[in-house]
């Protein structure tokens, strides 16, 4: 009879938000892995019903303090979709620069404050800061640059108030936007240093095997819009999302788990974007990836921290490119005439695909809303990963095993506050 061991962690810190995960082991065999979620996730969908579609970006921005721009962008994409609005190039550029700012902020937070301590053997960023203050300050400076982009274009750093359906309340002048050039150039240098820093870490082994899903836009690394594609031939518009992906209610969880309609597990986020669109990264980002030995595609879950760092380089580079070529728009937004119908919007939140669907009536009132955050979509893939990691490292002592499990969960930068509350990690050995 195999030995029974129980490992319990009351609180898994350093993921965005909180949730619960438990693992049951019999000897070296994993019997059960689950991600449990306690928060009523549908609160915001209910809140949106009966509100004006113009309020959707402001309300949904409140779902997450780390990725408000993602929520706003998927929301405005969906409302613009149903109303038949196309944005002129300058407004699209602004939307993309703003989103780059959010990627910089979110990725810097995750790489430096949440994930790097795992690789370097620290309990968290505070301990890391005591030994490597220069590295942590570099991360904070990067994050601050992301904040500056949000503050300048979005109106304020968290929950930008300048975003509206059809564009912005006010568009910055060329001169105003150029204020971001110097900080972004410094951030780009810091991002290159981040790639070199993370590439030198030691990586546990775990290859992602499931289907990879990301947005795609010809000629660019898709961020703020695109078609949904996969490495197994999927290629659909946002309107077909519900035909190909389902959310299942799982007894133990208040959140819904997403899977492909044929039952398959899939993964979205940096590894998927990198595998599917890596060739569209800027030359500088690709060169950094090459030097770091992580050219796309990369299916190594633990090297996601390096991929995130390459995306940091790209986000700085891309924002600088767009600022350089920015032409002030004739008007800050395209006026909206509500049209009764259903609109679909997607964008690439820092942690993966974010889907919104709204049904509105002829005066623009929201009749129902559906929001599928990236962490719900990645939940099954995270569980698969955890199962594989536990099997591979079952012989480690309890503390070491717990540490590698937490590190594995953080590979996906789960934003559990979008989908959940409290994350406890419990490993039970039978």
């Amino acid at each position: 009879m195999p030995e029974r061991r129980t490992i319990k962690t009351d609180y898994l810190a350093r993921v965005e938000g909180e949730g619960a995960m438990s693992v049951r082991l019999r000897g070296d065999t994993v019997e059960h892995v689950e991600l449990r979620i306690f928060e009523p996730p549908r609160f915001f969908e209910a809140l949106l019903r009966g509100r004006s579609c113009l309020e959707a970006p402001d309300i949904t921005a409140r779902i997450c303090g780390i990725c408000p721009v993602a929520y706003q962008t998927s929301a405005v994409n969906a409302i613009e979709d149903v109303c038949g609005i196309e944005l002129p190039a300058p407004l699209r550029a602004l939307r993309r620069i703003l989103y780059c700012g959010e990627w910089i902020e979110s990725h810097a937070l995750h790489v430096y404050m949440l994930h790097a301590p795992d690789f370097l053997g620290y309990d968290g960023a505070i301990e890391l800061a005591r030994d490597e203050p220069a590295a942590v300050e570099r991360g904070l400076a990067l994050k601050k640059t992301g904040n500056e982009v949000l503050a300048l274009i979005g109106g304020r750093e968290i929950h930008p108030i300048n975003v509206r359906v059809g564009g912005f309340y006010r568009a910055p002048t060329r001169r105003e936007l150029r204020r971001l050039v110097e900080p972004l150039e410094r951030a780009r240098e810091a991002a290159l240093e981040t790639v070199r820093w993370t590439a030198g870490f030691d990586f546990p082994e775990r290859a992602v095997e499931c289907e990879l899903v990301a947005l795609s836009e010809p000629g660019t690394y898709a961020i703020e819009r695109g078609r949904i594609i996969s490495d197994r031939g999927l290629d659909i518009g946002a309107a077909a999302y519900d035909e190909h992906f389902v959310e299942e209610h799982v007894e133990r969880s208040n959140a819904l788990h997403s899977r492909r309609r044929d039952g398959g597990t899939y993964l979205c986020g940096p590894l998927a974007r990198y595998a599917l669109n890596g060739a569209a990264l800027s030359p500088l980002a690709l060169e950094a990836a090459r030097e770091a030995g992580v050219e796309p595609p990369c299916r190594d879950a633990f090297r996601s921290i390096v991929v995130r760092s390459v995306e940091l380089v790209y986000a700085c580079d891309e924002a600088l490119r767009l600022i350089e070529s920015y032409e002030e728009p004739d008007a800050p937004f395209v006026p909206l005439e509500p049209v009764a119908g259903v609109g679909y919007g997607v964008s690439e939140a820092p942690r993966g695909l974010l889907y919104h669907r709204y049904r509105i009536d002829a005066d623009g009132t929201i009749l129902d809303a559906k929001i599928v955050p990236p962490t719900s979509q990645n939940q099954l893939a995270i569980e698969d990963d955890l199962r594989a990691v536990v099997e591979r490292y079952a012989r480690l002592g309890d503390d070491e095993l717990r540490a590698v499990c937490e590190q594995a969960i953080r590979n996906y930068d789960p934003c559990i506050s979008c989908a959940t509350h409290f994350l406890d990690l419990q490993v039970e050995r039978l």
């Binding site: 915001f44 303090g65 404050m113 203050p133 942590v136 929950h159 509350h421």
Partner: protein, 152 residues
């Protein structure tokens, strides 16, 4: 003397909004004060209190005390207990940001941290009565600390 008042919380999560409510009352009473509101990701607090002689920070807490109880500590001389200041939905909580600031030498001259004990933190909840009742007295205490006389 540069003073900043900081309210931390989430407006959509019941008693977690207590810090925001206090900051809002301070703003009403003393428009001349620097008031900073942080709705979730708190690492930006390092910038919010940069260069301040006095920072007064309010957050909701969950420590098992009576609802509405106000905890007070001087973070410049003692650590902020992470077990208490983790009621918010963000994993990188106020306690960690303060300790990160301490590790990097980025705390203000003086940092007073106030925690209002809450009980309901679910999405969509309102402030509970005990917590709502604690808001105005704590705002008055902050104004006194900041050397302001309440205007109303």
């Amino acid at each position: 003397m540069k003073t900043v008042v900081i309210g931390v919380g989430n407006a959509y999560r019941g008693d977690d909004a207590a810090g925001l409510a206090v900051a809002e009352r301070v703003r009403v009473h003393a428009p001349e004060l620097d008031v900073f509101v942080c709705e979730q990701e708190p690492i930006q607090l390092l910038d919010a209190w940069e260069g301040a002689d006095l920072a007064l920070l309010v957050d909701a807490v969950s420590s098992g005390a009576e609802p509405g109880t106000v905890h007070r500590l001087d973070a410049t001389v003692e650590p902020v207990p992470a077990a208490v200041f983790r009621g918010s939905t963000h994993a990188f909580g106020v306690a960690e940001v303060v300790e990160l600031g301490r590790a990097l030498g980025r705390l203000p001259e003086r940092l007073l941290v106030f925690g209002i004990e809450g009980t309901a933190f679910s999405a969509g909840d309102e402030l509970t009565p005990a917590v709502a009742a604690a808001v105005e007295p704590l705002a008055a205490e902050l104004l006194a600390e900041a050397g302001c006389t309440s205007t109303r």
